[in-house]
Structure formats: C-alpha cells, structure tokens
C-alpha cells in the first residue's frame, strides 16, 4: 500500500462505520433472533406426538400382567397425573425412597404391568421400552403444563437428597476438572448460542428443570431429564450415571427445590 492511499482507506472505513451505526437500531439482537426462531418452532412442537402416544400408553393394557398404568401412584394418589410432575422427585412410602418421574415409572411398569425394571434401566436411550418411557414422561409432564414447581421437603429423606444433590452439583472431577456448577453456576453465560441457566438459584419460568422433557430439533429425539443429565455427564467427561440412579434423582431434587414457584413449560422444544 502506498502512503498516499492511506487517508482514502481511512475515509472509506469511517464512512462504513457511520453507515453501520446508522443501521444499528433496525437490527435485532442475536438473543431476539434466537427467541424468534424458538417461537416459530414452538407452534408445531413435535413433542405433541409423544404426548398423544404417552396418553394412549398410560391407558393401554400391556405387559406380562396385561394391565394399564392407571393404578400407578405418581405421588398424588393412584392414577392422578395432573400436578404430579411439578412435585417430583418426592419420597414414596411403598418403595421407601425418593423417586423422580422415570424411576417411579420403572416401579409402576414392574408393579402394575410386570415388566422387568432393571432390564429397562439397562436399555440404551431411544430403544425398546425406553421409547415408551419417553412418551409416558412427555404425557405426564404435559398434564402439569403451566403449573408451578412445589417439591415437598417435609420428609427427612427428601431433605437428605437435596443436600446430596447440592454436593453432586458442586463436585468437581474428571479429566476436565468439571462440575455441573462450572457451566450452570453463573447468570448470563452461554455455550455458543445456548443460554446456560444458573441452576444454583431459581432460574425462572420454563428454564432448567421446568423445560425438560423436551424435543431436540437437531436430532429429532425426545429427551427426558434422565437423558439430559446423562448427556451433561458425557460433556463433563464423567462416567455415565446409572439410569434412574440415586445420584440423578438427588440432582433432580436439588434443581426442583431451587425452582420452587417456577412455571413448567415441559414438554419444551430445544434447538
């Protein structure tokens, strides 16, 4: 570049900058753009398909015992689905442990219908009976859409699980020295275009635990909270937690209690 050309270039740059500044108010921010994209997708959320299938599965007579799940107690009495999702995980006297939605469904699938719960828990996501659990959790969550999270903490075991969940949430380890709190411990953080909810406080309506199960557009799959947590651990390079294991349930209690008063939008739609 010759010295004479420089002022010309500078003038051109300045003009370009001025033009950009003038156009700025007409542009929407990235966050607005993402919100718009999500709103467009939400109108035809394919989770509706899982919801319809789950409702049919709930009422259908299946399994070795040829029974429906309508006698299943999700915490609000046998067969009561509405409002069950926003009060889970909770303590169940019949099993003597705190259970989340998936682990409770395993109990019901075995007790009511005669399926082998251990075999279902060992089945990879998206295969066999796991597919039916996806539909069932979508239906059960959808029945509590708009309701607010109120996890019971009256039982000593529920409070113990909350403390355990908190410990697990902040536990750093693995080859990356990661904890759940590494990504979900501060407000206003994101990974690429994904907002990361701060799960150490109440993340608000329809965020965090209040958004799962959700339909993942990128993979065309329906993810329950168990699968969400499983993938979080994959991203942290931790060993996979057992399906419906106490560790995952404890995390559910921790997130659920923190989200008290937040409205559920599940089943949601994700990128």
């Amino acid at each position: 570049m010759t010295p004479r050309a420089r002022p010309l270039l500078a003038a051109a740059l300045l003009a370009a900058l001025l033009a950009a500044a003038g156009a700025a108010p007409a542009q929407t921010s990235t966050a607005d753009g993402i919100a718009q994209y999500r709103a467009l997708l939400a109108d035809g959320n394919p989770a509706d398909l899982w919801e319809a299938k789950g409702e049919a599965l709930w009422k259908q007579k299946r399994g070795p015992k040829n029974a429906s799940l309508e006698a299943c107690d999700l915490g609000r009495g046998p067969g009561v689905v509405k409002g069950a999702f926003v009060a889970l995980p909770r303590f169940f006297a019949d099993t003597g442990r705190v259970q989340d939605l998936e682990s409770r469904l395993l109990t019901c699938l075995q007790a009511q219908q005669g399926f082998d719960a251990a075999a279902i828990a060992a089945t990879p996501f998206g295969q066999g009976e796991q597919l039916n659990i996806e539909s069932l959790v979508t239906y059960i969550a959808a029945e509590s859409r708009g309701m607010t999270f109120e996890l019971p903490q009256a039982h000593a075991e529920e409070r113990r699980m909350f403390e355990a969940g908190k410990k697990i949430f902040f536990f750093r380890g693995g080859p990356y020295d990661f904890a759940c709190a590494s990504c979900h411990g501060e407000t206003g953080k994101r990974i690429r275009l994904q907002d990361l909810p701060n799960l150490t406080a109440n993340p608000g309506d329809g965020v965090g635990i209040a958004a799962w199960p959700a339909y993942r557009v990128s993979s065309g799959e329906l993810w329950s909270m168990q699968r969400r947590l499983n993938d979080c651990y994959r991203q942290q390079r931790f060993p996979y937690p057992g399906y419906a294991s106490d560790a995952t349930i404890a995390l559910g209690v921790y997130m659920g209690v923190q989200a008290r008063g937040a409205a559920s939008v599940a089943p949601a739609i994700k990128r």
Binding site: D43, G44, P46, D48, L49, A52, K53, V217, G220
Partner: protein
C-alpha cells in the same frame, strides 16, 4: 404401523388455517449406522389434503423435509364444521390418513 398425525384446523377470515404434525422418520438414505452400513431412505413422497372429500392440496416431498414434519397452509372458503383430511404415502408404500373437523 405409523403413529397418528396431529391436525389443528381453525377458521381465520374467509378461510381456515390448517396445521399438521406428522410422525415420520424421514431418513434421507445418506446416513450410516454405527456399523457403517447405509440406512436406507425412508420418507414421505406425497401429501394430500382434502376438504369434505375434495382435494385442495397435493405436495411432493423428498429427503429435504425434516423428521416429524410440520406443515401449515390456508384453505380458502373453508367453514367451521367442514372435514379436513390429510393423507401421506411414503417410499415404502405405507400410507396414513387422518381427519379433523375445522373449529
């Protein structure tokens, strides 16, 4: 056996807005499974919509359409109480037809 569609149809102005959600894998035939074998193409090839039995829309679909596709269109002159029927055929010859009443 295919899963049912979700059809919502509502009067808007002088017509009706129809929203359809279909359950279909929509495999392109380009993906490979864990063993490296190509997953054969499996997708909807034709969609038809009928108002009270009279065809109002036909569409030819291919591999570029998403899994569990959602489609929305307007039918002019449709009234509340009219029947809207959506049908699809896929490249395996499977077909499915579901019906809804315009609200």
């Amino acid at each position: 056996m295919s899963d049912p569609m979700r059809i919502r149809a509502q009067v808007q102005g002088s017509g009706a807005v129809v929203r359809v959600l279909m359950a279909h894998e929509m495999e392109t035939g380009l993906r490979k499974d864990a063993a490296g074998k190509t997953i054969p193409a499996w997708h909807i090839t034709e969609v038809t919509a009928a108002l009270n039995g009279k065809t109002v829309l036909t569409a030819q679909w291919g591999t570029a359409i998403a899994k569990n596709p959602f489609t929305e269109f307007v039918v002019k002159g449709a009234k509340a109480g009219d029947r809207i029927t959506i049908a699809w055929v896929d490249n395996r010859g499977d077909r499915r037809s579901d019906e809804a009443v315009i609200a």
